[in-house]
């Protein structure tokens, strides 16, 4: 038995490969975070001090801001995909589920934009 629709057969373009995009995005961001996340935790727990100047000097130095922006992007993406699955699995009231999914997306876009903005602002203002 073919699972393809009659229209799909006639047009004959095959799969758009979009069906597994959520699954694939979750894994891709997971691999990125295995490296970036471990790097971040080691860096932060290894800082000598957490005062204003020390933290800014660390964030603005060398390749750190580049990796931090990548970390924030991967975190927001991975977290958005994960929270989406949790909401879909456990929130059953339709209206609340929709509101929660929208709120989650807004929250994660905010995290990505605000986090990147903060890192870049520090990187461009420290010398």
């Amino acid at each position: 038995m073919s699972l393809r629709s009659p229209l799909g057969k006639v047009i004959g373009r095959g799969s758009a490969k979009q069906g597994v995009s959520h699954w694939w995005g979750q894994r891709l961001s997971a691999v990125a975070l295995a490296f970036l996340g471990l790097w971040f935790v080691l860096q932060v727990t290894g800082l000598n001090a957490y005062d204003y100047d020390s933290v800014r000097a660390w964030i603005g130095s060398g390749v750190t801001p580049v990796l931090l922006v990548q970390l924030i992007a991967a975190l927001a993406w991975h977290s958005a995909l994960g929270v989406q699955v949790v909401l879909e699995d456990y929130v059953h009231a339709k209206a609340i589920k929709l509101a929660a999914l929208v709120a989650s997306i807004f929250f994660h876009v905010f995290v990505a934009v605000a986090g990147s903005y903060a890192v870049l602002r520090i990187a461009f203002t420290t010398t």
Binding site: T45, G46, Y50, Y52, V86, F110, V111, A114, A118
Partner: protein, 129 residues
């Protein structure tokens, strides 16, 4: 319509600790998602002026926040270790029951050891943030 049981039928299974590692992956994931707010709060404070940062640093250095930060470190390490276990499963390895139980034990052992090392480095050696 009759109320029929919905899957997953959690109450018909005998408890196995691989269930605990599974649900803990989701719980730590959600906890870490909430932690994003603290990460952004800290970064925005560092991007602002020194007085504002001092206030945020003092809040992060308070007793309850220190406990939360330690909790986030442990949640991160667990989610990382168990996430690697999931990625290995995705490659098609370690899916037999005995293997899954064994890897669950390794995840717990690795989480305890790595968390202790990180918390020792972050909180004991260097002092609070």
């Amino acid at each position: 319509m009759r109320q029929r049981p919905l899957s997953p039928h959690l109450d018909v299974y005998r408890f196995a600790y691989t269930m605990a590692t599974s649900i803990l992956h989701r719980i730590t994931g959600v906890v870490l998602s909430a932690g994003l707010l603290v990460l952004v709060w800290w970064l925005l404070a560092a991007a602002g002026d020194a007085e504002g940062y001092a206030g945020v640093a003092a809040a992060l250095g308070s007793g309850p926040m220190q406990v939360l930060l330690a909790g986030w470190v442990i949640a991160f390490v667990y989610h990382l270790c168990n996430g690697i276990r999931h990625l290995i499963w995705d490659l098609g390895y370690g899916l037999e029951k005995a293997e899954a139980r064994r890897s669950a034990r390794w995840v717990v052992i690795a989480t305890v050891l790595i968390s202790l090392a990180l918390l020792y480095a972050g909180f004991v050696l260097r002092g609070a943030p």
